[in-house]
């Protein structure tokens, strides 16, 4: 690995900013992880998949994957950024965009209250964090959805941030990676929410026309409007194990068709078998596999004189 890294031209320093750029979210993820290692909190939890008692701190160190059964718990956007970027390389785009209650939505609870509550709960302004960054010194644009914020539903801000991330990648001639998770549409924004599907897909049309690659990483759960737009348009589509990915919800399908749903319906494994997903990647391998994919796309996966990959089996 080290020998390989030396061959790669490092990023120009202008695009590398300290990790503090994400500090406005009130979370300094890197130092937080370090702190946890020093002081084990001793908190136990029951894995919702295998029902075994597990150390919460062990689960977090294990990238939010159950150490006993391998169940992949959702990651926050910041944890995901930590996983998929070089330390200090993440330069956030559009951190200030925030949702507006355009429809003055009158329902059981007001949209403004929901937004405030979710902001307080997560420290996020909305459900996407995007930025220009690098992984193993390969520059690329990354957008990550955070399911904790209103189920990462797609409203105007999610659509705009995704679109701007795509446009940035196109303008800078960089590969684009989007980590998806979404409960679907932001109902509080009505048809404005639907228009985000068209907007993001339009930007992807231009990215594709520019001959630039786009990789999707599907995480649990990715559904509805996001599935029917940018989550389905990757040149490569990777998925985390056991992620629920689909267009229509299970209950809607059952109610409409009265059909018995097949085992494992709408999981990553099901979609791999049905030909939608290129590859299921365990979280512990995600960084290495994404790096490798980007190396192929950016012609960094050089062939040495003996005709063998310079990386050999190191990421396997």
């Amino acid at each position: 690995m080290a020998a390989f890294v030396k061959k790669v031209k490092p990023l120009p320093t202008t695009s590398v900013v300290p990790v503090g750029v994400i500090a406005h979210h009130g979370i300094q993820k890197q130092s937080e992880v370090a702190k946890r290692k020093d002081i084990p909190q001793g908190l136990w939890e029951k894995c919702k998949n295998c029902n075994e008692l597990i150390f919460s701190s062990r689960k977090e160190e294990n990238l939010q994957v159950c150490p006993k059964c391998g169940y992949h718990y959702p990651m926050t956007a910041l944890e995901r950024i930590d996983l998929l970027t070089d330390l200090g390389s993440f330069q956030e785009l559009d951190p200030k965009l925030e949702s507006v209650d355009t429809l003055k939505f009158e329902g059981v609870s007001s949209y403004v209250d929901k937004l405030l509550a979710n902001h307080e709960k997560t420290g996020l302004r909305d459900a996407v964090i995007s930025g220009v960054t690098a992984i193993n010194f390969i520059p690329y644009v990354l957008a990550v959805m955070d399911f904790r914020f209103l189920g990462a539903s797609m409203g105007a801000v999610v659509g705009e941030k995704i679109t701007r991330a795509i446009e940035t990648a196109t303008a800078k001639k960089l590969p684009l990676v989007i980590v998806t998770a979404s409960g679907g549409a932001r109902m509080y924004e009505g048809l404005i929410s639907l228009m985000q599907m068209a907007k993001t897909s339009g930007a992807l049309y231009r990215h594709k026309e520019a001959g630039l690659p786009y990789i999707v990483i599907l995480t649990h759960p990715t559904t509805a409007g996001v599935t029917a737009s940018f989550a389905s348009l990757g040149d490569l589509i990777l998925a985390e194990p056991g992620a629920m990915v689909g267009f229509a919800g299970r209950r809607v399908i059952e109610a409409t068709t009265q059909a018995q749903l097949p085992d494992g319906f709408q999981t990553s494994e099901f979609l791999l078998q049905k030909g939608f997903v290129d590859r299921i990647v365990e979280r512990k391998n995600l960084r290495a596999e994404l790096t490798l994919c980007l190396e192929y796309f950016t012609k960094r996966c050089k062939v040495n004189k003996a005709g063998k990959s310079s990386r050999k089996q190191k990421t396997a």
Partner: protein
């Protein structure tokens, strides 16, 4: 009454029944009722005006779903000549929930594509209640590419409760089928004009709706989710569908105010189902107007304008701090 009467139309139906009864009496020669008739007819006109100009969003949704509302093929047969339907997605099947093919409108050659509902149980089983499967979207895109090759403008008519929520649809990646349509429609080198003629059901509608110009018929709706679905999720009770319909701002007028659509096509009094010919005439007028306007644009202008139609949908704020 020859047509299905909606709840809020009952006062009108009663008046019409009384007029009918009096006319029958007249015909049978039982005295002169012309004065009474005149007064009843005045009442009917006034009542129609009050009811139909003050429709609530929920009432519009009901009109949009009216079992006698004209569907795509009803409009195509009235607006177009020489409709030549093409079938199949070349991958899996033909989806009868979407129809499309060459046609002429006042002699102008176009590609007509529309979602199609059925009029009765048998037809609806065939048309899948107007809910397309992935094959429908893939056929539609194939026909759009045919139109591009032939240099023909594309007119899409949208009337669907939504894309089909079925096991097969998921297995064949309905999300991907819609997504690809959204992406590829941005590249079409010919004019695209979309009309929501009834139900504009979310992604299933948008899959045919990435156009240079988007119009709604007066009593149609276009929404991210059905009022029933929204009520079930946000109110946890479908009984709140009426409130949800209002909150979603899904009517033609509201969407025009928001700047999300380009115009509203008028319908005959009481809704398109009261007069198919008139409804089709209004629609045809707008199609011809748009075909004329868009025909003067270059390919680059068309592609750019279509992109900005959707790119410029903003509606977000920016925090100061």
């Amino acid at each position: 009454m020859s047509i299905a009467v909606l709840e809020f139309e009952k006062p009108l139906a009663e008046l019409e029944d009384r007029i009918d009864a009096i006319m029958r009496m007249d015909a049978a020669g039982s005295g002169d009722h012309s004065k009474e008739l005149r007064s009843l007819r005045r009442k009917l006109t006034a009542a129609k005006k009050t009811i139909y100009t003050n429709l609530t969003p929920w009432q519009r949704v009901q009109l949009a779903r009216h079992p006698f509302r004209p569907y795509s093929l009803d409009y195509i047969s009235r607006i177009c000549t020489d409709f030549m339907e093409f079938h199949g997605d070349r991958r899996f099947a033909d989806d009868p929930a979407i129809v499309g093919g060459f046609a002429r409108i006042d002699g102008i050659p176009v590609m007509m594509i529309g979602t199609q509902k059925g009029r009765n149980v048998k037809e609806n089983v065939f048309r899948n209640f107007g809910c397309p499967n992935p094959e429908g979207y893939r056929k539609a895109l194939r026909l759009m590419k045919v139109a591009e090759l032939a240099g023909l403008p594309i007119v899409t008519l949208i009337d669907t409760p939504g894309a089909y929520p079925g096991v097969g649809a998921e297995e064949r990646h309905i999300g991907e089928a819609i997504a690809v349509n959204l992406r590829e429609m941005f590249g079409l080198k010919v004019p695209v004009i979309s009309f929501v003629i009834g139900e504009g059901g979310s992604g299933g509608a948008l899959g045919l709706g990435v156009a240079n110009k988007v119009f709604l018929l007066e009593n149609s709706y276009y929404s991210i989710i059905t009022p029933e679905g929204c009520a079930a999720i946000l109110w946890k009770d479908r009984a709140y569908s009426e409130q949800a319909a209002a909150a979603l701002k899904l009517t033609a007028d509201e969407l025009l105010k928001l700047g999300l659509i380009d115009g509203v096509i008028p319908e005959p009094v009481g809704g398109a189902h009261h007069n198919y010919d008139k409804a089709a005439a209004y629609l045809k007028l707008e199609i011809l107007k748009q075909l004329e306007e868009l025909s003067s644009k270059s390919v680059d202008e068309l592609v750019e304008q279509r992109y900005h139609h959707f790119r410029d949908v903003k509606y977000y704020g920016e925090a100061k701090a």
